[in-house]
Symmetry: C2
Subunit: 296 residues, 2 copies
């Protein structure tokens, strides 16, 4: 296992990318455009943060393996589908993602809608191909992904966000929204990675859940901080784009300094939650550090 955060992320990314390439249909045949759009959106230079958390959680409990790669691929496909649909004109109406045209710009809106739908189906199909795991464990993994990626998590968070745009949120409402919108899939990544080893104890899963909730929230606070800082430095104005879109953010509610302190406290809390794993959780610790220290 490499020790620098970039090397850790590259190490895990190479494995999930190979698995994604294996499960995604080749872009040929009568539905060529659909499959090309799915591949375009999955291989878009993303950080593979959720796969990294999945592998690192597996390494904390036992040792990551081919099953970790399949679970990581399923998580990344759910993440990719949510970005495709979020970018649509009726949602956030974004033309660019990571400097490249979004799916509906590169292809068209209809193809983007279907590419998202197809990626969600394929994520669940991927989990049914965990042939070396006991079937009850496979069902448990599918239950986690369908809940935390769906109506008990991500999809509901997106809906809460939509409903809240233009209204000022209290801190607790903002936390509830983010706990669903981004936190749930981050928690799923850690819990599913650990569960798929077949060796995670109840105590370990509870510790990982606490870790995931803390870094999930820290991830979002850091996003809001970066939104303000990059606007201030690059655009020369105090307000970030979220604030000017009428969205409540951690920085708009807490102010920049308290938001920074909160992110640091959450980071400390996430590290404490990993105590029981000893040095086996070093990759998880490195990823947590990356989340709160990243500048993009």
């Amino acid at each position: 296992m490499p020790s620098s955060i970039n090397a850790i992320i590259d190490h895990y990314s190479a494995q999930v990318d190979a698995q994604l390439d294996a499960i995604l249909p080749p872009a040929t045949g009568a539905a060529e455009q659909l499959f090309a759009a799915m591949r375009y959106s999955v291989f878009n230079g993303g950080k593979r943060l959720r796969p990294a958390l999945c592998f690192a959680a597996a390494d904390a409990v036992a040792e990551s393996d081919a099953n970790s790669a399949k679970v990581a691929a399923a998580l990344e496909m759910i993440h990719a589908y949510s970005l495709i649909h979020d970018d649509l004109p009726a949602m956030d109406n974004d033309d660019l993602r990571r400097g490249k045209p979004t799916c509906h710009i590169q292809f068209d809106e209809a193809t983007a809608i279907l590419a998202g739908d197809g990626l969600q189906s394929l994520a669940f199909q991927q989990l049914t191909e965990l042939e070396t795991l006991p079937a009850p464990l496979v069902v448990e993994l599918i239950a986690m992904l369908s809940r935390l990626g769906g109506c008990a998590g991500m999809v509901t968070g997106q809906a809460i966000d939509l409903a809240a745009t233009g209204t000022a949120l209290e801190l607790e409402q903002l936390k509830e929204m983010h706990a669903h919108k981004t936190g749930a899939l981050i928690e799923a990544s850690v819990l599913m990675g650990a569960t798929a080893t077949g060796q995670a104890s109840k105590e370990q899963l509870n510790a990982l859940s606490e870790f995931a909730r803390a870094i999930g929230l820290a991830f979002q606070i850091q996003d809001d901080i970066l939104d303000v800082e990059s606007s201030t430095e690059q655009l020369g104005k105090q307000q970030g784009s979220d604030a000017s879109n009428g969205k409540s953010t951690y920085t708009s509610i807490l102010g920049l300094e308290r938001a920074r302190r909160e992110a640091t406290e959450l980071f400390d809390h996430s590290i404490q939650a990993l105590q029981c794993f000893g040095e086996k959780a070093d990759p998880l610790r490195a990823i947590a550090g990356f989340i709160v220290q990243r500048n993009h």
Copy 2:
């Protein structure tokens, strides 16, 4: 078991509706609009054809039960999500379905996209709640739904349809498109209903697969016939709306008379496929008759 087709469909519908009401989140809380949109689209007066096929296949093999209702609910949620997304402005741009505003008209586009996404997640979640079935069977059911409702079926069929609009298809291409777009989920309905009894033999599944492929195709041919006939009678013109949209149809390729003959032959073939089940397949036979004789 009632014997008239309407009574059979009502008998099965009541069971799947109760299950759908149990699994769909109540339309309250911060994501109230999302859950209201999901319920609106699921309870839209649909015929519940896929649930009926699921229950009837279970009755052909053994006896339909509470597990059949869960599988039927999952199938209907996949069907409902596909209709919500198909109706979107970027896809078929339909304002009405069954005489009522489509989901994006009644709510808004963003909510409609999310309602479809949430219904797909919830369909898989529903299958993980088949607690009384052996886990390997649950995994098999999820594999069937993710493949036939996704990239090996429905989603791919929709993409083939999109790619083909405006170009004239050969008969074999048209069949391939419909086999994916509507046939795959009809086949899934029958196979999953039978599989969830835990008593289906390989031979029975093969017979049901042959039945499903025949009636799936007959269903689409009858749709195309109704499109022409209702246009001729109600609008006073020869061309149906599909033909005027530049879509190839069975009637545009075969003509009305040959299309009618083909539908009848497929019906006969579907009935022959059921021979091994004796009178236990009477509900399936009644549904097949309904499919080719319906006038709406």
